[in-house]
């Protein structure tokens, strides 16, 4: 019954997706995407067990790494963008 766990994780991913689409703030979306990513790591791991191929775990690990880097990158971008904007305007 790895299948049930797989489905459960898939459901969670869908829920995250909905939140990612709804927002309302960009932070909500980033949160949802991050969660989608961690769930994918789970998904790949469980899928590996389901299909009897433990090498998937290597993939899951790499994906966890990429998810992390992606979120950090988004946050840096946001920060840099915000600083650029405030440098361009005079703040009261």
């Amino acid at each position: 019954m790895f299948a049930t766990t797989t489905i459960a994780v898939l459901v969670t991913m869908t829920l995250a997706l909905v939140r990612a689409m709804r927002g309302p703030t960009v932070f909500d979306r980033i949160l949802a995407v991050n969660m989608f990513g961690t769930k994918t790591v789970l998904f790949i791991s469980v899928l590996g067990f389901l299909l009897g191929r433990p090498d998937f775990l290597d993939l899951a690990l790499v994906y966890a790494l990429m998810n992390f880097i992606g979120v950090v990158a988004i946050l840096r971008y946001y920060q840099a963008r915000a600083r650029e904007e405030s440098a361009g305007q005079d703040e009261p």
């Binding site: 995250a16 932070f27 980033i30 949160l31 991050n34 789970l42 469980v46 992390f68």
Partner: protein
Amino acid sequence: MTAMQLTLDVLGWVFLVAGSILSIAGGVGLLRFPDFYTRIHAAGLTDTGGAGLVIAGLIVQSGSILVAVKLVIILFFLLLTSPTSTHALARAALTAGLKPLLAPTPEEDDRSST
């Protein structure tokens, strides 16, 4: 199967099911909580409880030590990076001025009737 193996097997399933439930619960919370900061809690639940239990279940169910070790590494990695991302995210939101939804303070309660 010996009793020991049976217990282990059942334990594994229990972990997996528990993890799945927590995961979905967190997901639902993500959708229903009223503001961003509370949603962080919901997401965090899936990452620690959900992921932790599922991986624990997989570890118990795994055949080999190598697989178990890899799973531990994955869990370690997730537990280390996910809170970091969330922390950075929350800090960014706070700096950007997103205000948390707060309950009314006692003085206000005296005035309003809600």
